[in-house]
Amino acid sequence: MKSVIKTLSEKLRSGQITSVELTEKYIEAIKRVNPVINAYVHETFEEARRDAEYADRLIKEGKGTPLTGIPFTLKDNIATDGELTTCCSKILEGFRPYYDATVWKKLKEQGAVLLGKTNMDEFAMGSTSETSVYGAPLNPRNTARVTGGSSGGVAAAVCADIAAYGLGSDTGGSIRQPASFCGIVGFKPTYGAVSRYGLIAYGSSLDQIGPMTHSVTDAALVYDAIKGEDCADQTSAPVHMGPTALNGDVRGIKIGVVKEFFDGINPQIKGAIDAAIEQYKNAGAEVVEVSIPALKLALPVYYIIACAEASSNLGRYDGIRYGYRAANYSSVDDMITKTRTEGFGREVKKRIMLGTYVLSSGYFDAYYKKACLIRKRVESQLAECFEKCDVLFAPTAPVTAFPLGYSGGNALETYLSDVCTVPVNIAGLPAIALPCGKDKDGLPIGMQIIGKKFDDERVLDIAYFAEKSKLCELEDVEGGVRL
């Protein structure tokens, strides 16, 4: 793994390069590469140049942090004052918030350089980024394949080295799965460890913002910069605010291997993960076999709860205050109906309808209420596991990157491919995805390390072993910024 942030930070602070110069390199690379992979949907080059100047001043005054001056990207569902934030949806076309997401505010203060907003499934609903109104981003490792989703644009930009890192969001796997499909690191912190203020909501009790980077070292640096309780988000919690210590010493660590995660999995993927587990064992870790029967229900629980919350969260898009408004209408009700019909894509409409249905009177008890009860069961069974283990190892997805266009005709199968990631969101646990091999077609295979609630730093530390021991080294993709 290459620690892009760490390396660039050293170069900036030692004066080898200025942030202004570095930023121009990234801008030039974006202009070259983005037309092919469609990672960026809105560029913020003017903002980036201003950020870079500010960063250079900070560095000169000795006030630089590890992220100062480093060009990065934000997923298009994270609010940026004055800059387009559209969730890759027609219904937010032209929308520029007049407020910043807390995570962007924190990074801006440190002199981070925002290059632009990246591509995603519309309103974060999807696992391939193909439902974007701007068209799908392409996987830089094989442009006939999807990047994964919904943070596909961030994954592609980081993978192709046209951003040093990015912030994605993860509701059912949307950071981890694209990270694994593109062969980079994606970390979803514990629910509440990072503020959601300014993250355009999809599933409020499931969403989290997290870093997508080339290495665990980088992921920890970014996590440290964005973590922390926020008075603007009452679901955020106090966490350890000092820097995450990375040693990678896994002696005595108990790794839980969950039977249900490996049921029916592609043997190449199982092989890669087994090999990784062997490496950990050789370094002194112990393997514990565990079973979590409730995991079989995790997918329907996820889709019921996420869609229910989404149906409510997306009610506000009516063309009255912001975004797209239908051109021809005969009344307010007609305007709202037409706006939403024209503004939302098919997948979003499907999930809104599903969510409305499971909350409706007569069906509430059978679906939503039951899903909430089973959710608690999944949470408590996972918690029980953590009495026997320190972390769980699991695949990120049962497959590697699909071909483009595949999931459109295989909706249910696509939903089912979230089986390894959604339990983490249901229980609010921290989890990191990192590359652990390649399949026969050269596509990256990712593995997940899942920790108990608020054990984020330990998860990063245990993942760091993989970086330290060079468990999986993937080659760089051509065309981006070289360090």
């Binding site: 609010a79 918030p97 355009i200 603007a232 149906s311 409510s312 009610g315």
Partner: protein, 471 residues
């Protein structure tokens, strides 16, 4: 009367906190449209609600003052529906676990109107219809409300009125809301059904929404009673419906029926989660509650010996009561304090509002000083009234108006002399008095008052006069 009226009220009260329920925007009335707003209360994408602690405290105050039990673990719920004045397309409210439950309000007759629940929620924005357009002002969006739901214990329009008045009084007393119906800080939905007298089976109810005047509530209920009675008399069935009251025609009409009823799809608000209130906090709030109005009224009459008519005039206005009680605690006599307040000060406080605010430049300390002088006979009541009136206008202290010589009163010798003069100057009155007309002596009082600028002690003068006349 063939039918028994059965009614329950749902009352929305705007809380007088400085900021809104889920954000730091001001709740101040007025202001140019959409200037008291932020991303949270206008439902911008990515904004999140932050529960205002003070709102919870105010709601607990309201619950304790109406004898409710407080649910110390509770949560908020989303009530989903689509309307332009609701920016998020859901209202954050409470559904299955309200903050307060099972209280009551006691009427004059001793009858208790049960309170089923009190919960917190946010208000919506305001639609303004003008020049063929509809404008939306979100200033009111997010203003904190409590919804007070009564049991169907109300049996007449008069009882409904009294119930609402009592609620207003309690909420004003505890400082939770100014409950001004005409300004919209208090609104009622009236549920009403009829059942044959002697029956125990409730009839179908209709709901009359957004009543913002006490007299309209009475009128609307009376109209609806007769409307439903007529239907039942003719063997028909009352249709469950939401109604509006037209103040011009005095009639109710249907807004929507059960078929069009909304499914709000209530579910737990995921952005706020559980609200936990420590027991100590509830006790702290309970201890900070002032004496409640009905208790105060009883104490004024039974313990302080204030005459019931005066007690009724005082107890409704907490600021006035605070003033009177403070003066009494500083040694002022109850009778004179009350009489001077109700007689003299009230003439300067014409409206209900004036009495509520009690914005006069007379402090309780100065009042006590003045009253004590009257109590001790150092000045007579007329002078006390005149002085107090001037104090209320000019804001100066007692000593600015009453000098040593005033207090000195009139000495015995001087008084005898003036009494002699009075008798000499009023022969007709003296003759009348001797003839048995007691009241004729008032003319002599008048003369003495004038001659001594009101300083003479009329009781003493009376004794002297009678002696002189009888001689």
């Amino acid at each position: 009367m063939k039918y028994q009226l059965v009614s329950g009220l749902e009352t929305h009260v705007e809380l007088a906190t400085a900021t809104k329920i889920f954000c730091g925007c001001t709740t101040a009335f007025g202001g140019a449209p959409n200037t008291h707003c932020c991303p949270v209360c206008t439902g911008q994408p990515g904004a999140l609600p932050i529960l205002n602690k003070r709102v919870v405290e105010f709601a607990i105050r309201a619950g304790l003052a109406t004898h409710c039990t407080i649910n110390t673990t509770t949560h908020l719920d989303r009530k989903n529906y689509c309307y332009p004045d609701l920016p998020k397309a859901y209202q954050i409210s409470q559904f299955d676990k309200p903050l307060c439950e099972h209280g009551y309000v006691e009427l004059e007759s001793g009858k208790r109107i049960g309170i089923t629940r009190i919960h917190i929620e946010e208000d919506a924005g305001k639609l303004v219809h003008e020049s063929g357009f509809t404008f939306i002002d979100y200033n009111r969006g997010g203003v904190p409300l409590i919804e007070i739901v009564s049991e169907p214990d109300i049996s007449s329009p008069e009882e409904a009125r009294e119930y609402v008045e009592k609620l207003q009084l309690i909420m004003r007393y505890i400082g939770v809301s100014d409950c001004k119906m005409q300004e919209g800080s208090m609104r009622c939905d009236v549920n009403i059904s009829l059942m044959p007298v002697g029956s125990t089976k409730f009839g179908t109810r209709t709901e009359i929404k957004n009543m913002n005047s006490l007299s309209y509530i009475e009128k609307a209920m009376a109209y609806e009673y007769s409307r439903q009675a007529e239907i039942l008399d003719n063997g028909g069935e009352v249709v469950q419906a939401t109604m509006r009251y037209d103040e011009h025609t005095g009639e109710t009409s249907v807004m929507r029926t059960k078929e069009d009823a909304q499914d709000y799809r209530y579910f737990l608000e995921p952005d706020i989660l559980t609200v936990v209130i420590p027991e100590e906090k509830v006790e702290e709030i309970r201890a900070s509650l002032p004496e409640l109005p009905t208790d105060k009224l009883k104490r004024y009459v039974n313990e302080l010996g204030i005459n019931p008519a005066n007690a009724q005039l005082l107890y409704k206005y907490k600021a006035v009561c605070d003033f009177v009680e403070k003066a009494i605690s500083l040694g002022a006599g109850v009778k004179n304090t009350v009489n001077l307040t109700v007689g003299t000060l009230y003439s300067k406080l014409e409206t209900e509002d004036d009495k509520e605010r009690f914005n006069l430049p007379v402090t309780a300390e100065e009042m006590a000083k003045l009253v004590k002088l009257a109590d001790e006979g150092k000045i007579n009541i007329t002078l006390a009234q005149k002085t107090l009136s001037k104090m209320a206008e000019e804001g100066k202290s007692v000593s600015a108006y009453i000098s040593e010589s005033d207090l000195a009163g009139v000495d015995e010798g001087e008084l005898e002399g003036i009494c002699k003069k009075a008798v000499e100057s009023n022969p007709q009155a003296v003759a009348d008095f001797k003839a048995g007309k007691e009241k004729a002596i008032f003319a002599l009082y008048g003369f003495i008052k004038k001659a001594t600028q009101g300083k003479a002690d009329i009781k003493k003068a009376d004794a002297i006069l009678r002696q002189l006349i009888m001689k």
